[in-house]
């Protein structure tokens, strides 16, 4: 079946088996291998992409369900003047080792900061009706859907804190 979608500002039409997930479509059909397959079951976050402004696990989503969607992957995070602030901060704080979870961390963090701007609460938010302050605990909780087995969490949190403060 045919699916039309926009990925990193480029329109694509993909002819694929209905079983193809968004993640497999990105990696195998479009050659956008930045989005990683770590578990294929929504348990690690390595496949995180931003679909219509929301971070999702691309492995648990059918391509067919994204007909008309706008997807941003790690390959689309760079701005006109190079690396995004988060990408830059991940380098400065060594928020990576093997790098396999990194694209998912970056997409997740990018969308997470939008969630905070929109006032979305988290499990650790004390007052559900007060404005959200992005404390260290808030970052840790909100980024817990992205496993990092190298355990670069200290660097990842520092990088996000720095960008959030700007």
């Amino acid at each position: 079946m045919k699916t039309q979608l926009t990925v990193n500002r480029t329109r694509h039409e993909i002819e694929a088996d209905p079983r193809v997930t968004l993640l497999d479509a990105l990696r195998d059909h479009l050659g956008l291998t930045g989005s990683k397959k770590g578990c294929d079951h929504g348990q690690c976050g390595a496949c995180t992409v931003i679909a219509d402004g929301r971070r999702i696990n691309a492995c648990l989503s059918l391509l067919a369900q994204h007909d008309g969607s706008e997807i941003v992957t790690v390959e689309g995070l760079e701005g006109a003047d190079g690396l995004s602030p988060l990408q830059r901060a991940f380098l400065d704080h060594d928020g990576m080792q093997c790098g396999y979870c990194t694209p998912g961390q970056l997409c997740s963090a990018t969308a997470m900061l939008d969630e905070v701007r929109n006032g979305r609460a988290s499990h650790v938010t004390e007052d559900l009706e007060a404005p959200v302050t992005l404390t260290r605990d808030e970052i840790m909780e909100r980024m817990s859907g992205n496993l990092c087995r190298c355990a670069c969490y200290s660097g990842i949190v520092a990088a996000i804190e720095e960008v959030a403060a700007e």
Partner: protein, 325 residues
Amino acid sequence: MMPFDYHRPDSAAAACERGHGAPNSAFIAGGTNLLDLMKLGVMTPETVIDVSRLGLDGIEEQGEGLSIGATVPNADLADDPRVRARWPLLSRALLSGASGQLRNMATTAGNLLQRTRCPYFQDTDTPCNKREPGSGCSALGGEMRNHAIFGTSEHCVALHPSDMAVAMRALDAEVEICDPDGKTRCLDLDQFYREPGDTPHIETRLDPGDLVTAVRLPAPRGDRQVYRKVRDRASYAFALVSVAAVLRMQDGKIESAALAFGGVGTKPWRDLEVDLLLQGERPSDALFDKAGETLTQGAETHEGTAFKVPLVKRVLKAVLTEATQ
């Protein structure tokens, strides 16, 4: 995944009709549970009906309550200002589940209908009465931890893993169902879920083609709402035990109480005896201990699940203490 036909009907009625006509079909919205299980070969629908674009993603006020569309993403439901203000229990339960990404995908109805995390259910190489009726239960006599202590049978001890549904049980939610004849009916969550008995593969009162279209939330029966979840890591883990409480206090006494429990039941658990025991009483440690005793007197435990009895009692006591202060 096994091959399937993918359909995206444009109305709930068409979706029901399609589901009724295809014996082995499944509705898909968020996909977070269905695709997981399809990849494992646990679920093998031949027809997949996409209900994510039927306009069931709104949250409407309905009298003093809310009607929550079946495909409202968990993240949006948790974020709704009305829910945050009047049903904070629901926000809390949602926010304690899964991850930010999954909550953006998973939907109201999908959450209610998510399948058990029993590892033997998820493993097609082991017998499981829920997956293959009559094949036997591998959890019994095997490795048990995330299994139920309430509502079990000799055929199944699988746990209902939802946080959201636990909150909804304490909030007296009702499920709105559209059937293939176009009729709508409502079931409260107690009626909606079935205990396993000798048919653990039948988990709800839904018939083929029935589509959950909304969850109706009545006005909260109490302003003191607490959700507490215990898990093996600080985030992104299923509950070992969770307790949802909705209380109203009057003159230092508990005027009304609704408690529901996660991590312990074959369905989101509620024990009306516990609620009744608390009503009209002054809060005290002795009362809360008694509530815990009442709750757990019928618990069926095994080596790996025995810890849930003391754990749920302690968490219940802590939650009641917090809610009555």
